[in-house]
Amino acid sequence: MSSRMKFVIGGLVVVIVVVALIATSFSGSTSEYLTIGEVKALGPDQTQNSRVAGKIVSDSVEWDTAAFHLAFEIEDETGRLPISYNGPKPDMMADAVEAVAIGKYDPAKQVFTADELLMKCPSKYEEKQ
């Protein structure tokens, strides 16, 4: 076999292994972006986390220092969703800020339990009154 052939075949083997590794990494455990309406339609047997985004409803944020627990509601055009989070209040969390919650929905309690919270804070701010 010529060394050119060897290199081509050897290189191809490496490429196939790398591509296979990547392909298996991409399957499973991704989180899908859902609307609040879609989240509320979820059944009790969710295997993957979902991502849901919405504006924080005014005056809905309740932080309980002693319990280290955060509860609030978000809304979009498809409805409102109560969020429960056992962790610190994220930076720059406030009314009407767009929040992204990553976690699972509990249809019985009708609460979305977040593993992770992100605030969408644009680098530019609207002028404040």
């Binding site: 290199f7 932080w63 220092t65 610190p88 209040k89 720059m92 680098s123 701010y125």
Partner: protein
Amino acid sequence: MILTEIGYGALLLALAAALWASIASILGARQQRPELVASARNALFVTAGLSSLAAIALLALLLTKNFGVAYVHDHVSTYLRPVYVLAAFWAGMEGSQLLWLWMLTIFTALLLLRRPTWDRQLRPYAMAVLAFTQAFFALLLVAISNPFALMPAAQAEGVSLNPLLQNIWMIIHPPIVFAAYALWTIPFAYGLAALVTGKLDAGWLFGVRRWALAAWSTLGIGILIGALWAYLELGWGGYWAWDPVENSSFIPWLVGTAFLHSAIIQERRDMFRAWSVSLATLTFLLTIFATFVTRSGLIQSVHAFAQSAIGYYYLGFMGLTLAVTIGLMLARRRELKGSGQLGDLLSREFAFLVTNLLFLGSAGAILLGTLWPTFTEAVRDVAATLTPENYNRFMGPLGLLLVLLVGLCPLIEWRKISAERLLRSVWIQVVVGVVTAALLLLFGVREVWVVAAFAVVAFASTTIVLQLAAGIVARMRTAKENLLVAAAQAVRRNRRRYGGQLIHLAILLIVAGIIGSQAYQDEVQVVLAEGEQAEVGAYTLLYKSYTFRQQEEGGNKLRNAALVEVYRNGRQLAVMEPERNLHSNVDGSVTEVALRSTLKEDLYLVLASIESNGLAAFQVIITPMVIWLWIGGVLLIIGTLVAAWPAARPAAVTVPAQQESTGRRMAGR
């Protein structure tokens, strides 16, 4: 508003000068008219002057707090601390774009200050590419992201800088990243020039080696500083989240790494010519793509700038660059065939090929992952996002394979090495790896991947240490020098090799830090009243006292802080004071973490909330080995300086004989 007119006028003139430079340099080279090339060179010095003028104008407007200018109004305020005015310069899209243009023009001017030597024929074309890229950025600034735009009405106060960006590392992170992006333009420009002229031997690579090394290292440092900022400022205890903005700077770094390796192969063996040229172009394109990601609104990211039409300009520029490169590569396909003979599969050539495939594979996968929500939304109508777990599943194995190659490559000879010979030279490394694994198991580490990962890092580190030592010991024997003199002499005589080894060692330190910090992170939440204490791991945290809503910055900041004394075995280790402050220019509170770093682990304290009676909730995060990342970063800088430092004498030992003669031939023509 004389300064805004000066600034905008300078940008308009810079656009004109850059356009002229790109046309004149090509015409000058094509028609053998040196006076046109000289005129283009002058025009490029003019663009450096003009963009400096524009930058100074913007800085002056920011410093004088001229709130009539939209960019100033949006990013500073009367109460912003002066040091952060500098960060405000590049906090927004317009300013960062101006910074990029400024860096690019300065580096171009520095390049042109040196008289052409090896690049006599390539330089006019490289100048044209650089000038055209400058024109692109100047056009963006003039046409759609003008930093000198005025506010519709006069303003007495500005919005001020986002408190998250008020951090010392955020002052230096953007300029370093943009400097790196600007530096990557130079290897790309010479790559295109090599394609145009057909001079595709290693001459151009040898000529741009230092620029490429500087670009690569600067980008790496920029990424590390970004990670450090995220770690210190965002308060979640991590430094990397596989966010699109982070990914978009990491992708060009990976491809740039592949470029550096393929350049070595081409210099030594005259193989991989097409790889070198296309990787240089790809790295440059990906730096532009990085900006496109953050500016276009294409990808959802928590850090992204507001959406704008600027994305179409970027797409157009990237499309043009790609089309020109591919067209030229097709036209030069004969010259792109190198003279080097491929060797055996068990050869350094093949090991380098695998290295490049792994780097490109990682870069491609991260790129695909970054675009995944966009793809899935287009195909399935539901945007799916990869989690860090997805990324780690491919990046972990690929990264470890690369580390393995770091340890293996120096032992594999060019052309061919027999398996027995390789095994004979690798046994010490294998023993060190196995002993490391055994020790970890003995000390109770049970995760297989952690044991394997540290064993591989130990394996690779041993190779490098042995290689470093071999050269020094040889000098101590033959030249009868003591250790220090021998080390200094060995490094001085072969900077390139020793610099490369130090850089690899730096990467291994960073990898070790990543493994340690990813494997074991302890997170505990405690709620304490003033005077109470809590045991967290081996530490005792005593909550001594607190500050509640203390006014600062003229009432624009309300400071909340908790003073915590940290003890271990009854001995006081540190006094830490995490904060959670309110700022008038943003809603909600902003954390300032407190940190105690040691080689073993970081104690990271977040004040999650505090009430008026002092009841405080703390998030305590203990992460091993984080500091190794930053130490690796410092070593990376040292290694780069060693590798790139000009040799003391003109007849540098680092120049392979073959390439030196190529350089002379080209200069003599």
